[in-house]
């Protein structure tokens, strides 16, 4: 059995070696951060639209996403700068098939599971279950798609095998992983160097170490807010126990942004409440009706016989005035004898 596994490893090492050496000759090309830049442009358009439509909560959240995207773009540009500076430098160690073989063997000792898929051209390792700051994130599979080495800025994916994503988004499975892409942060240069030099063991070890750490203040979602959801009005994170929901649009609200309709006593977001034109208290649309005369929205208490208090009073005054005039007209005319 051991012999057969070794045979497979040897075959895989030979194939991988040929591919990696071929890639080493073509790693001069620098990948531009086009994906991130396109994302920034999209966010900018979405922010403009949100402001135009008065969706202030959405605009605030999009602006936060924009900050992260710009930060990511800046890191990628820094990386490009470093790679351009190092472009003249060639690896001092010539990669051999034996190196790749030893890397594969070492990976099998280091990780719980190692898969080599020659057809898919994928080499994967599985981490142990990761728990950061008492938040269980589960095991991750690091999948290196080796045909993309030297062509993509990130030729690998980080897949959550037992995902426990942030409440904010199912795509955020780790504080530093979104859409199966790891934001490498401090490890970016070392990871790029390991891939460029075909050092597979170092590459997987670095990615694994990144997954076992948490950079507070620079995460897609901070672990303190992992199970929290942003309030749709102010954007602050609210834990499940402290959450309110708008009775009309079902968005999440914090205690401070949850407004109570003075008619039905249900909770609503600020966008789903209006003020009564007469008493100025807040009501939901179901608890307000339009005055038949002035069309202003009024609450039940300020509405009498389909009219707001002002129009009702005005109408009463008119009615009284009409009645007085009628009375005057009906009074018998005094005749002189």
């Amino acid at each position: 059995m051991t012999k057969r596994i070794n045979q497979e490893t040897v075959e895989a090492a030979i194939v991988l070696h040929e591919l990696l050496v071929g890639k080493q000759r073509h790693t001069d090309s620098i990948s531009l951060p086009t994906y991130t830049w396109t994302n920034i442009q999209t966010l900018q358009r979405q922010i403009d639209t949100a402001w135009q439509r008065g969706w202030h909560g959405a605009a605030k959240r999009l602006r936060e996403d924009m900050v992260l995207a710009v930060s990511d773009c800046r890191r990628q540009l820094d990386d490009m700068y470093r790679r351009l500076e190092d472009a003249g430098r060639t690896p001092c160690h010539k990669l051999s098939a034996a190196d790749v073989y030893h890397d594969l063997v070492a990976l099998k000792n280091e990780f719980e599971e190692v898969d080599i898929d020659l057809e898919k051209k994928e080499l994967s390792v599985t981490t142990d279950s990761i728990v950061l700051d008492e938040v269980f994130l589960g095991p991750f599979q690091i999948r290196l798609e080796w045909q993309h080495i030297g062509q993509s800025s990130q030729p690998y994916r980080v897949v959550a095998l037992d995902p426990h994503p942030a409440t904010k988004s199912n795509e955020i499975t780790h504080p530093h992983v979104q859409d199966e892409r790891l934001c490498e942060g401090d490890g970016r240069a070392a990871i790029a160097a390991a891939l460029a030099e075909g050092r597979l063991f170092d590459f997987f070890l670095l990615v694994s170490q990144l997954l076992h750490n948490y950079g507070r203040g620079s995460a897609y979602v901070e672990l303190d807010h992992w199970d929290g959801e942003p309030c749709s009005d102010c954007g602050s994170y609210v834990d499940e126990d402290d959450r309110y929901y708008c009775h009309r649009c079902d968005t999440v609200l914090c205690d401070g942004c949850s407004h109570t309709c003075q008619g039905c006593d249900e909770s609503f977001c600020s966008g789903c409440l209006s003020t009564c034109s007469v008493c100025c208290d807040e009501f939901c649309s179901a608890c307000l009706e339009s005055c038949q005369d002035c069309r202003k929205r009024v609450c039940d208490e300020c509405c009498e016989e389909g009219h707001c208090r002002h129009c009702h009073q005005k109408q009463q005054e008119e009615n009284e005035h009409d009645a007085t005039e009628d009375d005057l007209q009906q009074e018998p005319v005094a005749t002189s004898v």
Binding site: L68, S71, D72, R75, R82, D86, R89, P91, C92, H93, H102, D103, V105, A106, N109, P175, H176, V177, Q178, L182, C183, E184, G185, D186, G187, A189, A190, I191, A192, A193, A194, E197, R199, F201, D202, L205, L206, Q209, L210, L211, H212, N213, Y214, G215, S218, A219, Y220
Partner: protein, 73 residues
């Protein structure tokens, strides 16, 4: 003697270095990462975890990988 040193605490390039005979893993670490604590790094010789007092041999491949390496966004 010469050893291959891979310092993943930064740019991560591999370099051949001259090492004095009898140099231990701990001593090499202190020379290369003077302000670091060895407990904060995975130190591997020929891809295997080793004792800090292991004496390095000609052609050894030494990799130093920080354990506290943080991602970003």
């Amino acid at each position: 003697m010469r050893c291959l040193l891979i310092n993943n605490d930064g740019a991560g390039f591999a370099d051949y270095i001259d090492v004095a005979e009898g140099t231990t893993v701990e001593k090499l670490f202190a020379q290369r990462i003077p302000h670091g604590r060895s407990a904060d790094y995975l130190i591997r010789v020929n891809r295997q975890p080793v004792a800090s007092d292991q004496v390095l041999q000609e052609g050894d491949r030494v990799s130093i990988t920080p354990t506290k390496i943080e991602g970003a966004v």
